[in-house]
Symmetry: C2
Subunit: 289 residues, 2 copies
């Protein structure tokens, strides 16, 4: 085994919105030890955090049950206005842990729809953040919002774009600038008036930029975080274009790459916004063994 | 000499705005045969048209003289609000032949500035249309508008772009979509709120698209029009990326390319928005000889 030089990115792991949501959830449970506490959907995209929350009595539920007593926490990705309405009809207290940056996108999408813009969301259509943003926009317009995830997909909507006098764009907070910059000019060519809120969150942007810089300095990049996390997956996508990259959820997966790691000296590590610090520490520790 | 197959683009020569300005000028002189008629700057970028107007008593002047009696026509590219004000103080009647599409850009630039957007004009800084648009925007803001003509130039203004909360973009009517699509994403990456009016005029857009299609079908493209005309020069730029291209002002220049034309069978012709039909006809005629 060669000697190891492991470098961790400065912006790795929990972002402000995730930390806020986890801290808030834990505090709610501490303050209300005898009240049932639920989260609708995964609070953040990280299995280990969900398991930890479950272990202290905060239960993740996938759908709203017939009866819901206690406290219900709204996940960082936000929910649709219809879901909020449905929860309000239950006998539960609602605690909103939606990331403030995500909330801002929902509000921007709503205001664009209200101002008569045909709303386009650049993002993955099945991601909970995007589903909620779309629902907020759709509430304020007869005109359904469009979700576009790739350059190729723009073609599919070109006739709608050409027909729309005013196009308003928001972006899923965890999208890459690369994808946004490929999609935007195609839309711009065919629209007369275009309003764009670049809602990629600054934490995501900094993390991506830093990961790219780090990737240039090392021989191998390790991205730590859930494979269902959009920002983590994007990090892996971006970095793999520059350097050999491994995307793992926990240190256990390192075993698969044992031979590669044994012969590698310079390793760079970064982690998605929903990856807790202790998992990053365990990865670094295992590499050093 | 091989037999000739010459194809003229459908959208070649005078656009609506140019035709309107030339017709208006001629009519003004016809209706006022004994009044001096002036145009401030070239009505359109075409020497032959300027010479024709001069021959019927419509005089092109480069600056506003001390005394100005008679009628003064505003060129298609528009002028600054300061110039209008200066003319209003003279004893002359002002006839505005600014292209309606150009006027629209001036108004959009003004409204963006009024709404607090930092205005960016994509275009050539020394082109009269751009000078006038910038002056209209600057009138409505303490914040001076920026003119960006190329991808490389964006870098120069990045710190200003990053500092501006709201960026508003308009485009010189005769720019290419290609240039716009290269510049826009770089600006978009660093701005939070962006409003874009795609003010490339539809005549310019159609002409460019048609020229590209035609270029693919022929062996040689001939672009007819003034070398000081932005839309004509852009046509030549675009087409030369696809096929061998000659840019000439009149049929006389064909002599230089005699050998090339003699061995070429399929020739495509298009002309800028300020090129009069008779010059296009003379070019076609000379090729046939």
């Amino acid at each position: 085994m060669v000697s190891k030089n492991v470098k961790l990115a400065n912006h790795a792991g929990f972002c402000y919105g995730v930390k806020r949501a986890v801290d808030l959830s834990v505090k709610i449970k501490e303050d209300n030890p005898s009240t049932p506490v639920y989260i609708l959907g995964q609070l953040i995209h990280n299995t280990q955090v969900i398991e930890y929350l479950s272990s202290i009595g905060i239960h993740t539920i996938e759908t709203i049950p017939e009866k819901l007593n206690g406290i219900c926490i709204i996940r960082t990705h936000g929910v649709t206005p219809q879901t909020i309405q449905e929860l309000e009809q239950k006998e539960c207290q609602i605690i909103d842990a939606t990331c403030p940056d995500v909330k801002r996108v929902q509000n921007k999408a709503r205001s664009l729809a209200e101002e008569g813009y045909k709303v386009i969301i650049i993002g993955k259509p099945d991601h909970p953040e995007v589903i909620a943003i779309k629902a907020h926009a759709d509430l304020c317009s007869e005109n359904e919002a469009i979700v576009i995830s790739s350059e190729e997909e723009v073609e599919k909507y070109l006739s709608t774009i050409k027909k729309s006098k005013k196009i308003g764009i928001v972006i899923q907070t965890t999208q890459t600038h690369g994808n946004f910059k490929k999609i935007l000019p195609i839309i711009a060519e065919y629209s007369t008036e275009l309003k764009v809120y670049n809602t990629i969150c600054s934490a995501t942007f900094k993390r991506q930029q830093e990961a790219m810089t780090l990737a240039k300095e090392v021989e191998l990049m390790i991205i730590v975080g859930s494979k269902s996390s959009a920002n983590t997956t994007h990090l892996a996508e971006i970095v793999s274009q520059i350097k050999k990259t491994i995307h793992i959820e926990t240190e256990k997966e390192l075993d698969t790459y044992k031979d590669l790691i044994n012969i590698t000296s310079k390793i760079g590590i970064t982690a998605g916004a929903s990856t807790p610090g202790f998992i990053i520490d365990q990865v670094i520790e295992r590499i050093g063994e």
